[in-house]
Amino acid sequence: MKQNKTVASTIFDVFNHVFLGIWAIITVLPFLYVLAASFAPDSEIKTRTFFIIPHNPTLLTYKFIFASNYFLRSMLNSVIITVGGTLVNLFFTFTMAYALSKKHFIGRSIVLNGVIFTMLFGGGMIPTYLLVKSLGLLNSYWALWLPGAISPFNFFVVKNFFQEMPQDLEDAARIDGCTEAQVLWKIILPLSKPIIATFALFYGVGHWNSWFGALLYINDAEKWPVQLILRQIVMLSTTLASDLTQFDPNFQPPQESLKMAIIVVATLPIMLLYPWLQKYFIKGMFIGSLKE
C-alpha cells in the first residue's frame, strides 16, 4: 500500500511520532526510576536525584519482602479479591444489563430510573458501613464485592451494547429451540467477548487498586490486600515530622527502597494482565460483532 504523501503530511507524521514518543518516555520514566530505586540501597536513593541504573544494585529489599510470608499472603488476598470480585461484577452487570436491554421487560423504566438515581445519590460512608455490618458481611470479602457489584455507568454501556445486537440473531436462535438463558449463554455472550474483556479489566483494576473498603470492613490483618500494606509503607515514609511524637524515640521510618520495591511488586501483576486483554481491547468497546 504505497501512498503518495505530501510534504505536509510527512511533517505531520514525523511530528506525531516524536510527540507521542516523548509523551511515552515521560510516562515510562517515573516507573523506571521506581524500578531502579527498588534495587538500590537507601543511601543511593537519598544522595542521587534520579537514575535508571543503580550503581550498587542489591536484592536486599526484595529479600526482605519475601522473607515473611505476609506480603505473599497479601498478594494472594489481592488476587482472590480481584478474581472473585471481577466474577461477581461481571455476573451481576451482564445478567442485569441483558434483562433490561429487552424492551418488553415489565417495569423496565422504573428499574432503569432506579439505577440512574444511584448514580446521582449515594448513601455515604457511614450508612453503607451500617448496612454491611447488619448484613453480617464484616470481615468477609463479600463486604468488598457486594456493595459495588454493579457500576451503574458500566451497566449502561453493557445494556446499550446488548440493545445494539440485531433482533434477527435472537429470533434465529429461538426458532432453533433456544430458551432465554440459552440465548444469552450460547449466542449473546460469545459475541460479547471484547466487551467482557474490557469490563473485566476495568473491574479488575478497580479491585486490585482499592484499599479503603478493606480498611473499613476487614478487621483481620491476615485478609488484607497488598494495597493496604503498600499504602501504609508509603504513608509512613512521608509522615510529617510533627507526627513523630506518635513514635517512640527509637522509631526508624521504613526504608525508601522498600517503598519502591513494594510499589513494583504491587503494580506489576495488574500491568502484566493488560497485554493479555490487549487483543480484545483493540477490537474496541463499542464494535459490534455482526456485519449486516
Partner: protein
C-alpha cells in the same frame, strides 16, 4: 458450542473455588479462648505489618494478665477514618486508642460514648502516676475520658554537630547570639572541611515546630499566654512573635537555612542532616541519635566515630528572659474505654485493672521490647534491642508498644544506653529539672471553643501562611498586621473571648501557677 459451555463451567467452578477459599480462611481464623475474660483492643500500628494473634509476646502477655487479648489493628494512616466509622456505628471494641481531640471525639465523649475515668484513675497503682499537668492537658470539657499515653514533656532542645563546631572553633553554645554565630559559621566556614560551600547552619522544613521553640526564647508564650491585663492571648499577637519573625527573616536573608523550606516535607527533614548538609536542628532531642545513625549509614562519618564526638545537645539558649523552652503536651493520644462494649461497672473495673497492669514492669518490657534473647539482649541487666531483626521476628512485637501508656514513667527495665542515648535522656530530664518549660494554659480549653471548632483550621492556616511569607520577605510589618486584623475580624476575637470565658471557668483545674505562662514580651 462446547466452548461456551467450557466458559460457563469455568465461571461456575471458579465462583465455587473462591467461595470455598473464603470459608476455609474463615474457619482457620477462628481461635478458641483460654481465659474467662476477653479484652478487645483497637489500636494503630506503624510497621509494615501488625503483630499476629499467635505472637509469643501476646501469648505471654495473656498468661500474665490471665486475659484473652483480641487486637484490631488499623494502619496508622487510615486510623481516623476507621475510628469515625466505628464511632458512628456504635461498634467499638472495649479499649480504643484515640489519636487526639477531634470534633467527632469531643462530640462522642459529650454524648457518653466513653467511660469517664476521672473519679477512678487515682485508685490504680500505676495510673495514679499520671502527672496532673498531663491529665489537665488531655482533659475534654474538664473531664478525663482516656488514659493518656506518656511522652516526655521536655522533649525539645537543640541538637548540633559537635565535630563541625570543633572544625570552626566554637566552644560554647549558651545564648541566642552564640547560636546565631554557630549557624553563620556552619554556613560559611566550611565546617565539613570538603572545600565546598555546601552546608547550611540548619535545615528547615514545612513543619513549624522549630519556630515555636525559638518563640519561647524571646519571651513568647506556648500557644497562649497571660498578658498584663490577665487575659489569655494567642502567641502571634505578642511582641515576642514579631521579634522572632524578624530573627527568622534575618537568618533567611543571610541564607543560614535552606530557602526552599516551605516545600520540604517533614519526612525528608532528617535526611538532609544524615547527608551532612545541616549542622543545627531545633527540634526533638531524640533526633540526635537518628542523625548519627544516618550519617554512619550514608558513610559521611567513619564507622568507628564515637557518637558523642559527632553530636551534642543543649536544652535551650538564653535570651533576654533567661532559659526558656517549649514542652510537648506530655502525651500522645489516649486509651479510652467504650460504653458500647463495656456496659456495667464490674466489667469497667475489670478493664481498668487490666489497663493498669499494662504499666507493670513485665508488660512494659514485653510490649515495649518483646522477649529476651529473641528480640533483645540483656546487657548488665539492661535491655539492648537486637538491631535489624528478621521480618518474622520483628512482626511479633509490631505495634504492641502503641497500647502501652508508660505509667509509671520508668516502670520497665532500663534500656541499655550508648553514650549519646544517655545524653539524650539526661537532657530530657534536665528540661524538667531546670523548670524552663512554658506550659500552654489553653491546651485543654481551645477544643471547647465553638468558634475554634468551626473556623480554627482556616484561621490557623491564615497565620501560618503569613508567617512563612514574612520570613521569606513577601510580607512586611504592615502586611503582617493586616493579616492579624483579618484574623481578629474573621473569628479570632470571638475565639479569644471564648477561650477567656473558659479560662475563668476552669482556672481552678489548672495544676500550675499562672506566672509560668505569663507573656514576658
Amino acid at each position: 458450542m462446547s466452548k461456551t459451555k467450557k466458559v460457563l463451567r469455568l465461571f461456575v467452578v471458579s465462583i465455587c473455588i473462591v467461595g470455598l477459599l473464603l470459608t476455609s480462611i474463615g474457619v482457620l481464623g477462628a481461635s478458641k479462648s483460654k481465659y474467662s475474660f476477653k479484652l478487645t483492643i483497637m489500636a494503630q500500628y506503624f510497621g509494615t505489618e501488625p503483630a499476629p494473634s499467635n505472637s509469643p509476646v501476646i501469648l505471654k502477655a495473656e498468661q500474665y494478665l490471665k486475659t484473652d487479648l483480641e487486637f484490631t489493628w488499623v494502619p496508622a494512616d487510615g486510623y481516623n477514618d476507621k475510628l469515625n466509622i466505628m464511632l458512628a456505628s456504635g461498634n467499638l471494641p472495649m479499649v480504643v486508642y484515640v489519636p487526639g481531640k477531634t470534633a467527632s471525639i469531643i462530640g462522642a465523649c459529650k454524648a457518653g460514648a466513653f467511660w469517664e475515668l476521672g473519679p477512678y484513675i487515682k485508685q490504680y497503682k500505676n495510673l495514679k502516676a499520671i502527672p496532673d499537668i498531663v491529665l489537665w492537658n488531655s482533659s475534654i470539657e474538664g473531664k478525663i475520658y482516656g488514659i493518656p499515653r506518656s511522652r516526655t514533656l521536655g522533649r525539645n532542645g537543640i541538637v548540633y554537630r559537635k565535630d563541625w563546631a570543633k572544625n570552626v572553633g566554637i566552644t560554647k553554645l549558651e545564648t541566642i547570639d552564640d547560636l546565631y554565630n554557630m549557624l553563620k559559621k556552619f554556613t560559611y566556614n566550611d565546617p565539613d572541611k570538603d572545600g565546598k560551600n555546601d552546608t547550611y547552619g540548619m535545615i528547615v522544613c514545612n513543619y513549624n515546630g522549630p519556630f515555636y521553640i525559638t518563640l519561647t526564647w524571646f519571651g513568647g508564650p506556648n500557644g497562649w499566654g497571660l498578658n498584663k491585663n490577665g487575659q489569655l492571648v494567642p502567641s502571634f499577637l505578642t511582641n515576642a512573635y514579631l521579634e522572632n519573625l524578624k530573627f527568622w527573616r534575618k537568618m533567611y536573608q543571610e541564607k543560614l537555612f535552606n530557602h526552599d523550606f516551605p516545600s520540604v516535607p517533614g519526612a525528608r527533614w532528617e535526611d538532609y542532616y544524615s547527608q551532612g548538609k545541616g549542622g543545627v536542628k531545633i527540634d526533638v532531642i531524640d533526633s540526635a541519635n537518628r542523625i548519627y545513625n544516618g550519617l554512619k549509614n550514608n558513610g559521611i562519618i567513619p564507622k568507628d566515630a564515637k557518637d558523642t564526638d559527632i553530636m551534642d545537645i543543649v536544652v535551650s539558649v538564653k535570651g533576654k528572659y533567661g532559659l526558656r523552652n517549649l514542652p510537648t503536651s506530655g502525651y500522645a493520644g489516649y486509651l479510652m474505654v467504650s460504653k458500647t462494649s463495656v456496659k456495667d461497672m464490674n466489667t469497667f473495673k475489670k478493664v481498668m485493672s487490666i489497663l493498669d497492669k499494662f504499666g507493670d514492669r513485665t508488660m512494659q518490657d514485653l510490649f515495649g521490647y518483646g522477649l529476651p534473647n529473641r528480640h533483645y539482649k540483656l546487657v548488665d541487666g539492661k535491655i539492648d534491642p537486637i538491631p535489624n531483626l528478621p521480618a518474622d521476628l520483628s512482626r511479633e512485637i509490631s505495634g504492641l508498644n502503641q497500647v502501652l501508656h508508660f505509667y509509671p514513667a520508668n516502670g520497665g527495665t532500663p534500656r541499655y544506653m550508648t553514650p549519646l542515648l544517655q545524653l539524650q535522656a539526661d537532657m530530657q530530664a534536665l528540661n524538667e529539672k531546670l523548670n524552663i518549660l512554658v506550659p500552654n494554659p489553653a491546651e485543654a480549653l481551645i477544643g471547647m471553643s465553638d468558634t475554634y471548632i468551626k473556623r480554627g483550621v482556616t484561621l490557623d492556616n491564615m497565620i501560618e501562611d503569613a508567617r512563612v511569607k514574612y520570613i521569606t520577605g513577601q510580607l512586611n510589618d504592615q502586611g503582617f498586621k493586616k493579616v492579624l486584623d483579618n484574623w481578629r475580624k474573621q473569628g479570632g476575637d470571638q475565639i479569644i473571648k471564648e477561650v477567656n470565658a473558659l479560662y475563668r471557668k476552669y482556672k481552678k483545674n489548672i495544676p500550675y501557677k499562672d506566672d509560668l505562662y505569663k507573656i514576658l514580651n
